[in-house]
Symmetry: C2
Subunit: 218 residues, 2 copies
DNA sequence: TGTACATCAGTGAACGCGCGTTCACTGATGTAC
DNA sequence: TGTACATCAGTGAACGCGCGTTCACTGATGTAC
């Protein structure tokens, strides 16, 4: 049953990318073979190279897809809430939940791919895409920082001479600390899953975010 | 030049374990082959199975070795300082340094192996050893918690009826938040290494630990 | 202490296996008339 | 609109390679006398 319609071909390609994004987050890029990937998409391995130059090339594309989905989920939470504080709280609570811990495939790519990326050569395309994803998540957390909201409002009224004002630095630093708590907590919760410690890490992480917000607004 | 003295045999075995600990932290367990490992120890791959049952078996042993070394480094910092606060500060600052970021092989195994362990089946021996390592690091951070120091002193005078008093929970939670900041920050710093963001994460992480300590002592 | 021999740590070729990738082939799709 | 044919998405066997593991072999070590 070879030669498939143009529409089906595009669907197949999109399906491979989506499945790759999920499987790469779950098992790491090296943890998934091309044959597994294609099998999960209902195809055989030989057709892979009609769609992609190499597995490495797909890795970069799938990584980008994972970041897109992740950013979209964050944006939905921002849209569904009526204040930056509520959005930050919803994003953090969803992040530090056992559902997220147990479903890396539909979870945060910043976390799931971090160690793999750290072990990847600096010139690989996937690294640049990953870095962009980190910056995007950081920008979102930064924009939701209580400290930032108080001050960037008045800043937009100023003439924007410097690209990075001190208050932006403060907001960015607060966002970085929160991002570290999110990533660190879920990393530890995943690595200790099955032990009571895992739930305790999630609870502590949520408390840590709350403390961080309290620290910003006091 | 086969058959080597008993003393040399033991040295070789210890050398393989030490080199495995370093290489597994650097490249992950699946990222190092038995041949590479043995080559780095100045031996050929065939001799491996005279020392170990399997690569998986060595992984558990080497993981334990890595945790031993890590705990020892922490203990040295505690011994060299004259207060729990100073020890916590020294441990955190050493953790969130670019030297640690750039040398995973001699660094924290909790962080370096976290994602690999999360992807490992629950019944593998290496998981239990990892969990023990996490608990040990957490216990140390807990014992250095400013909140804990104030209160456990008076607790030792009490009759220890409950194994976990509320103040212990508070100290443990504070330690978990700090551990998440340490692990999360360095994870992000490693994954963004080469970009200015990486140093910014390290600086933010140090600030986050300081804030966390301030929050405990206020 | 010196000699004869058994032991066994390390060697390197070989194993089966799964990997990423290639390629001749197939037959439905899409196009030219 | 209907027919003839070129295109090309997907198939599955095959490739070279490196992996973890095995094993017959070697020769210095360690032991028994």
């Amino acid at each position: 049953m070879p030669r498939v319609s143009k529409v089906q071909t595009d669907k197949n390609r999109a399906s491979i990318e989506l499945i790759a994004a999920r499987l790469f987050l779950e098992h790491g890029i090296d943890g998934v073979s091309v044959a597994e990937l294609m099998g999960a998409a209902g195809l055989t391995h030989g057709g892979f190279y009609g769609h992609f130059d190499s597995k490495e090339s797909l890795a970069a594309i799938a990584c980008g897809k994972a970041f897109e989905q992740s950013a979209q989920r964050r944006q939905e939470k921002i849209d569904h809430t009526d204040s930056p504080e509520a959005a930050l709280s919803e994003i953090s609570n969803a992040y530090l939940r056992s559902e997220h811990r147990d479903n890396p495939g539909n979870g945060c790519p910043v976390l799931a791919l971090a160690t793999d990326i750290a072990r990847t050569a600096a010139d690989k395309p996937v690294r640049a895409i990953y870095l962009e994803g980190v910056k995007q998540m950081l920008a979102t957390l930064s924009s939701l920082s209580p400290a930032a909201n108080k001050k960037t409002t008045q800043k937009t009224a100023q003439t924007g001479n410097h690209p990075l004002e001190p208050q932006d630095n403060a907001a960015q630093q607060a966002a970085m600390i929160r991002m570290a708590i999110l990533v660190g907590t879920l990393t530890l919760a995943r690595a200790t899953a099955g032990d009571p410690l895992s739930e305790a890490f999630l609870a502590a992480g949520r408390a840590g975010i709350d403390q961080s917000v309290a620290h910003s607004t006091e």
